[in-house]
């Protein structure tokens, strides 16, 4: 099992305004598998993704990646795991505006010191970004920016790709293209994919789906 989370709990706020977002969530994802997490706004799906991505720490529960409990890691340890094992794709793309497309794609691979030129070339080819490698994010369309974000997330060949509403800012056609690419590339790299989405159409393209309601899986 690549990822295993057990009884994750997370609340925000304090005192009487404290609100539980996740209430004992457990799930597991195998290597190369793709999982869609769906749910209403505020159901806790992004929070769950952030916890699995080690961007935030749970109040209770355990997160295991490759049979290692990562719940107690400090900032440095969590950063190291993100760098080497996890790729992230956000709804807002979150590209570095001052870096070129190529530098953005290479960024995580460089941080992880894991550059594979042949893989990067194949990636940019498949993502159809070769014509705009020297451009900057502000010069790209939304679909192109998200393809750059996908390229960046997969450049270091992570074992796990986490995508938070990756098509939420894109039109239907572009969404379908980006999703196709993500799935193909994950399959090629044998990367597991966990994707949070509102779209049932998108969710159905993945191998497995779970639904989150009121902080619990149903």
């Amino acid at each position: 099992m690549l990822v295993r989370v057990e009884n994750l709990e997370k609340s925000y706020g304090s005192g009487s305004e404290r609100q539980a977002v996740l209430r004992g969530v457990s799930l597991a994802v195998s290597a190369g598998e793709s999982l869609a997490i769906t749910g209403e706004s505020g159901s806790g799906k992004s929070t769950l993704l952030h916890l699995i991505g080690l961007l935030d720490a749970p109040d209770a529960g355990e997160i295991w990646i490759k049979d290692e409990d990562l719940s107690g890691l400090d900032d440095k340890g969590r950063a190291e795991r993100r760098r080497h094992q996890i790729g992230l794709v956000f709804q807002q793309f979150n590209l570095v505006p001052s870096l070129s497309v190529k530098a953005n794609i290479l960024l995580q691979a460089r941080l992880a010191n894991r550059i594979d030129d042949a893989w990067i070339d194949a990636l940019t080819e498949r993502l159809d970004l070769n014509a705009c490698l020297d451009r900057f994010p502000e010069q790209l369309s939304g679909g192109q920016q998200q393809r750059v974000a996908v390229g960046r997330a997969l450049a270091a060949r992570p074992e796990l790709l986490l995508a938070d509403e990756p098509t939420g800012n894109l039109d239907e056609e572009t969404s379908a293209q980006v999703l196709d690419l993500m799935l193909e590339l994950c399959a090629d790299a044998h990367t597991a994919l966990i994707m949070v989405t509102h779209s049932m159409t998108a969710a159905e393209r993945l191998s497995r789906r779970v639904h989150l309601t009121g902080g619990q899986l149903t």
């Binding site: 900032d75 440095k76 950063a79 795991r81 760098r83 979150n94 001052s98 941080l111």
Partner: protein, 807 residues
């Protein structure tokens, strides 16, 4: 990984060269102004030290003759009698339009008298007296040596000494006499005050020579210390204004990179890598800005130093070289201050980066949104600073306390500025009519946090300008009035010797309304070395010498020989009540009956009746000068007659207007540096505003796009941006005005009294305020012009894109 993080952070500046330039210019300007002031101070101190090394390491008795020249035979006579005496010849040597002071000394006697003269450079700091034993060699600083070598003149060989002042050349007496075309005479003799027992008393041996104690360099250095503190304070203020720019630029840079920092962390760069990378970035920027700043500072210092030299000569009689040498310590201090400043200005941003929540929105947003709570805190801090400004004069004294008072006032007012402007804008919004006016005021208030730093910098510069301007103008007005009163005599006559003096006096008494001797003697007054004047009983003094404190019938008491008048600075330093007995040697002390203003004189001075002076000091008095009262219409004729009849020295007859002109020119040069620094500080503040407006303009589009969409044209928006800059500049000026006046009060009543010993009345100059308001408006318009023009010509697509990005 660290390298990748560092390069990613740097890529921001590559894409925003304007912002990088703003940051570097701000830090460079701050460093430059600070370095220039330090350079000037260091150069002045080096000149004092060099003067100290060249001649006289401590107190020296100086023997001079009335006519100016002392025969060499007199020197020989003193030496034969066993006195430790050394001759000095001094005169100007002109080389390629530069005038150097050529000083001839006798090596062996000077060595025993002064403890040695600086040896040639690279000599390990030894005395190097063997150099002087070789005939016909000049000793000069490296710069002077270069100038002499370039001149092509047929001069003796030059040896270099790094310890000599740059305006000086030292050689042995024989060579100096030859170069200056002198005969068998010297200018003065230096005498060891600790004479062996059994020597013939000087009064008997050389009765014709006058004795005085040479002001040692340490004294000059101490006196000029207040002036240097003044410059340092200005340097610090300019540095602070520059740091406001850096703070604003770094803050905006951080806000714009907030998203990048979050992304880097999300991709696996830990805080422990990000923060050192940010620190290295700051250090690199500080190094570059420090280097530029030191070079700029050298330029500023080179431009200001001649005026500073003139100031120090005018105020303290200190001789400072008018040219600048590059010293390694400036580079070090320049880099140090740039690094400290950059770290100080970026500390908050780095702290914020360390605590940046990983999951907050990564969208760029406007600079910190000011909360009312923050303004309350700022107002409270300002109140605390004002309170300490009020307390300081009551609990502490000294120039440093004076400057602390001014710093409290200035920074208190700076902190208070944003809350005050917010209150005014709120009030404006309450009475505004029409949607555009309401939006304009609300939007201005929203922009205030982003502009606050620049406005605070402008406020500091304006308040300083008003404060220093009021001080200088009040001083000028008082000084002119004082000169008008004090320079009552129509003519001032100086004679060559006492024989000529007696003839001139007799000549004048037949032709003038009154001849007022200006006779004095150098002596200790209340334990301080100073000058004691004797005056005759004449209405000129009663009518024209304003006494700031006096007993009834003070002048009568002086004329009767029963009282003494003291100059203000000595009176303040000694803190004496009226009636205190003042000892001035030669007999019993006299009671203090009055105090007169005596601007520009750092030494003690007192006035007594002429009879008392002559009875106590007799032959020691220099009886060479007179003030002449005559109908102004006949003054020129009398001056011509005097010059025809007598062989008077150069400038032997000076009319009242010339003396006033000269005094006022000294005054103007004295404050030339202050004026220059004032203008520079204002320019830096104007740049701060320009930098902030330019940087903010890039982030303003999302706020302006909806208003554009609702029907305001780009030109209208650009015009409103200009109006906003002017409104904010004028509001800043409004706060700066009372602050500047408080500053002027502190300068006139606290700092001047502590630094120079004189208190000045404060005058108001509303026309100057209006001029400054116009200048602030102009600076605001210039600063806002480029961003406004960019807005007016921005493509509609750019406005539309903001909506697309906000989706």
């Amino acid at each position: 990984m660290s390298r990748i993080v560092f390069l990613t952070l740097l890529s921001h500046w590559r894409r925003k060269p304007g912002q990088l330039a703003t940051l570097l210019i701000g830090l460079s300007l701050a460093t430059a102004l600070w370095t220039s002031v330090q350079a000037i101070n260091a150069e002045a101190r080096a000149s004092y030290d060099a003067a100290s090394v060249t001649l006289a390491g401590g107190a020296v008795i100086v023997l001079t003759a009335e006519g100016g020249d002392i025969p060499l035979a007199t020197f020989t006579a003193l030496r034969r009698d066993g006195w430790s005496v050394s001759p000095v010849i001094e005169g100007p040597l002109t080389v390629d339009n530069s005038v150097f002071t050529l000083r001839g000394v006798e090596p062996l006697s000077a060595a025993s008298r002064t403890g040695g003269i600086a040896g040639p450079a690279g000599n390990g700091g030894g005395p190097g007296l063997e150099f002087f034993l070789r005939p016909g060699v000049l000793l000069a600083s490296p710069e002077t040596a270069t100038a002499l070598a370039r001149s092509g003149l047929d001069l003796p060989p030059v040896q270099v000494s790094a310890n000599l002042a740059r305006s000086e050349i030292v050689t042995d007496v024989g060579v100096a006499a030859q170069l200056l075309g002198r005969g068998e005479t010297v200018d003065r003799l230096l005498l060891d005050p600790e004479a062996r027992a059994g020597l013939t008393p000087l009064d008997a041996l050389v009765p014709e020579l006058r004795r005085s104690t040479q002001a040692v360099s340490g004294e000059v250095s101490r006196l000029a210390g207040s002036f240097h503190l003044n410059l340092t304070a200005f340097g610090l203020l300019s540095f602070a204004v520059g740091l406001f720019i850096v703070y604003a630029a770094v803050g905006l840079g951080f806000e714009q990179r907030r998203g990048t920092l979050r992304t880097l962390r999300a991709l696996g760069a830990p805080v422990s890598t990000l923060i050192p990378a940010l620190l290295v970035e700051v250090l690199v920027l500080a190094f570059v800005a420090g280097a530029i700043g030191v070079v700029l500072g050298y330029g500023v210092a080179s431009a200001l130093l001649p005026d500073v030299a003139a100031t120090l000569r005018g105020l303290y009689g200190a001789n400072v070289s008018g040219s600048l040498a590059i010293r390694p310590e400036w580079w070090l201090s320049g880099f140090a201050i740039a690094t400290l400043g950059a770290l100080g200005a970026t500390a908050q941003s780095i702290f914020k980066a360390a605590r940046l929540p990983l999951l907050a929105s990564a969208q760029p947003r406007a600079w910190a949104i000011a909360s009312s709570r923050r303004y309350v805190l700022q107002a409270a801090a300002a109140g605390l600073l004002f309170f300490s400004a009020f307390l300081l004069p009551q609990i502490a004294s000294g120039v440093v306390a004076g400057f602390a008072l001014m710093a409290s006032l200035l920074f208190g007012a700076a902190l208070l500025l944003p809350p005050v402007v917010t209150v005014i804008l709120n009030a404006g919004q309450a009475v505004a009519r029409g949607p555009v006016a309401e939006w304009f005021l609300a939007d201005t208030r929203q922009q205030l946090p982003g502009l606050a730093m620049a406005l605070m910098a402008l406020m500091l510069a304006l308040a300083t300008n008003i404060g220093v301007g009021t001080m200088v103008s009040s001083f000028r007005l008082t000084f002119e009035g004082w000169l008008d009163q004090r320079l009552a005599s129509e003519l001032y006559v100086t004679t060559r010797d006492e024989a000529q003096s007696a003839e001139v006096r007799a000549f004048l008494e037949e032709r003038a309304d009154a001849v007022l001797p200006i006779w004095s003697v150098e002596t200790d007054i209340a334990g301080r070395s100073g000058e004691l004047f004797g005056v005759v009983d004449h209405a000129t003094y009663r009518d024209n010498w304003p006494l700031i404190v006096s007993e009834t019938g003070a002048w009568d008491a002086v004329m009767r020989g029963e009282g003494l008048l003291l100059n203000e600075q000595t009176w303040r330093r000694l803190d004496l009540p009226m009636g205190s007995l003042i000892d001035f040697g030669g007999g019993p002390a006299l009671p203090l009956v009055g105090v007169y203003t005596d601007y520009g004189n750092p030494n003690a001075q007192a006035i007594i009746g002429l009879d008392v002076l002559t009875s106590r000091y007799g032959d020691a008095i220099a009886r060479l000068r007179y003030g002449v009262r005559i109908d102004p219409a006949q003054a020129d004729a009398l001056a011509s007659a005097l010059l025809r009849r007598f062989d008077l020295p150069a400038n032997g007859v000076i009319d009242q207007a010339s003396v006033k002109r000269f005094s006022l020119s000294v005054f103007e040069r004295t404050f030339a540096v202050t004026a220059a620094l004032n203008v520079l500080t204002l320019s830096v503040a104007a740049f701060a505003m320009f930098a902030s407006l330019t940087t903010l303009a890039a982030m303003r589009l999302p706020q302006l796009a909806p208003v554009w969409a609702l029907g305001l044209t780009r030109t209208q928006l650009a015009r409103l941006e200009l109006v906003r800059a002017v409104v904010l500049a004028l509001l800043t000026w409004l706060v700066a005005l009372p602050t500047g006046l408080m500053l002027a009060w502190a300068l006139l009543n606290v700092v001047n009294v502590e630094a120079f010993g004189w208190q000045l009345p404060m005058y108001l100059f509303p026309a100057d305020w209006v001029r400054l308001a116009a200048l602030a408006t102009l600076a605001a318009v210039i600063a806002a012009a480029l961003p406004a023009r960019a807005l007016a010509t921005r493509s509609p697509r750019a406005f539309l894109q903001t909506f697309a990005q906000e989706r």
